[in-house]
Subunit: 354 residues, 2 copies
């Protein structure tokens, strides 16, 4: 990562696109959308003079289409429409579009510039910042990709009004995670957010703070060799919930899985790192009120433990967690035994009233 | 490129592999070969304890197999045999293997470490150093790839004794290019090399000097935005010769094309940058004696001009050359007119006695 990525927070996307392109001497502009954003979002930018002259490439929406074959389609369209090293790709969509488009751009002619315009809260807070690009491969998520930051990321809440509330909440869970990593002040502002009001200006300011937390961590450790693992908070248990739900053909949103996973992991943090009980209860209450509960019974424990120990972030087969000793006090590479995790799952069920 | 790539010059490959792996805490080792190096080279390393425990992946040899599909085969084998972020891939082969293997490693789980062991002079001097990885795509050479350096490159001349002399000469042309870029002392040592004697210890010392020239230039400009274009010397005309030969179904080795291309470009350098005539004649004599001539007539000029102006290194359709004002005095981004190039092609034919 040789350049400093610009992150533009705005409610005027068109002006932000002008700003992001102002210093780039490009010859051709391409806009990547999926079938959803081609229909719902791209027309809203038609007045922008850059976008009006750009060539649109559309891929099928959905994580099952985040493949190397779809990437090859993007390469083909770039080739066929005269893209050179001085061309720019704008990725307009959720995490699937920014991940795949970032990978396509990073590998086309050994790397052309790209700009991410995330259209979901989850992609704004998570996938659009941090330089992780990639596609799924043979059923493995993000198995093929590179670390490479976008030239600019344009973050706005103006697309969110058309999103289902559940999708906003899914993204908000990652913001809660960033709040827990950052400190009490940031975290408490998030807990005070009222989903009923849907105040998108307030959400943009919370989002700015949240993205900054991630950007700061990524800058310290771009290749995930140390502190960047802090961003895995909630994800070891969360991925296990996600996989369990998937195996029951009843998938849950990624952010919801992380929200519930953090209940388990804050409980573990309380057991192993003296994270305050009051904070565990306060968090669990917020989640139960806004996300409901993910239902598990003790019969699921073995499956969950197997899933957690297979999580790619664990090393040498041990169960590796990022935990906290307090809000803002991160402990990476914490090891927990099977019994610790079983106990935490018991407490999770108590806290979730199941 | 965050790490400093180690370049090990040796005639004891096994010891060099031990050295390259000594500081790497890897869990599984993979060796990529093509169908040639699997048969001719890999058995010679069977005694090495690392190699003996490694999993071998073999792809079909030949530039026509340098594809994204073959890369996917490598990813599949890595997946199927338990590769993790802590695995290492050794690329054992010519430029096709080091380019494709480097790309596969750079994109598997967003990048695992890889070690290049070039088995041809061309790959030792050119493809193995500089961080260019990639594959061909839809008939375009190296269209898809990334810049990423190998963890280590092991360079030896011990494989070359089994290569056809023409293949050694092809690689030597890139060494001549490096000599021209570096200065008179290096260049004159190369002109004194006698292909009849095949002194591989001397060749290794010349190779060390030559690779260092490239490594120094790449370090200054890893992403080819400025001085790295110096390495294109001879390649604008050389690629045109290569494509012309290909269109006549009579392909020529890459290095030979560059050797002949440099006759044209040194002639241009003489016309446009006062490169000494005596140096042009001396170079042309060496090439004619050792490489013979690439036959063209004035009927080929239009095709060659079209090919040169389509070369991907040229910008805005102008004919862009890297030229010299003397041995070691590089001028990048020189523009030449059609008439300049026609005149240089006339002189090329005189110098080559055709």
């Amino acid at each position: 990562m040789e350049h400093n990525q610009r992150i533009i927070f705005t409610n005027d996307i068109s002006a932000a696109i002008d700003e992001a392109l102002a210093n780039i001497d490009y010859n051709r502009l391409f806009v990547l959308t999926d079938t959803n954003t081609a229909y719902f979002v791209l027309p809203r930018l038609a007045d922008n003079t850059h976008i009006a002259r750009a060539h649109n490439i559309t891929i099928k929406s959905g994580d099952m289409n985040k493949t190397i074959e779809a990437t090859a389609e993007v390469w083909r369209e770039l080739c066929a429409n005269g893209a050179t090293r001085k061309s720019v790709l704008i990725n307009l969509g959720g995490g699937m579009v920014t991940d795949l488009g970032g990978f396509a751009a990073s590998t086309f002619k050994r790397g052309i510039r790209f700009i991410n315009v995330p259209t979901t809260l989850l992609s704004a807070v998570d996938a659009a910042v941090g330089g992780k690009t990639g596609v799924n491969f043979r059923g493995l998520k993000n198995e093929i990709g590179v670390f490479n930051e976008a030239d600019a990321v344009i973050i706005s809440t103006c697309f969110f009004s058309t999103l289902p509330l559940a999708e906003v909440k899914s993204g908000f869970a990652e913001m809660l995670k960033h709040g827990l990593l950052k400190g009490a002040e940031t975290y408490d502002r998030l807990l005070a957010y009222d989903f009923e009001c849907r105040d998108y200006d307030l959400l943009l300011s919370l989002l700015r703070e949240s993205v900054q937390v991630k950007a700061d961590i990524v800058r310290q450790d771009p290749h995930e060799r140390g502190i960047r693992r802090a961003l895995n908070l909630g994800h070891t248990a969360g991925h296990a919930f996600e996989s369990l739900a998937m195996s029951h053909k009843n998938p849950i949103p990624h952010g919801h899985a992380v929200a519930w996973g953090m209940v388990v992991e804050l409980t573990l943090a309380n057991m192993l790192c003296s994270f305050p009980s009051s904070r565990v209860q306060e968090y669990a209450k917020f989640i139960l009120e806004n996300y409901g509960a993910f239902h598990i019974t003790c019969k699921d424990y073995d499956a969950l433990l197997t899933l957690m120990s297979h999580d790619k972030k664990s090393e040498n087969g041990e169960m590796n967690f990022t935990l906290l000793s307090d809000v803002g006090e991160v402990k990476i590479n914490c090891c927990a035994s099977d019994d610790d995790v079983r106990a935490a799952l018991d407490i999770y069920r108590d806290l979730m009233h199941i």
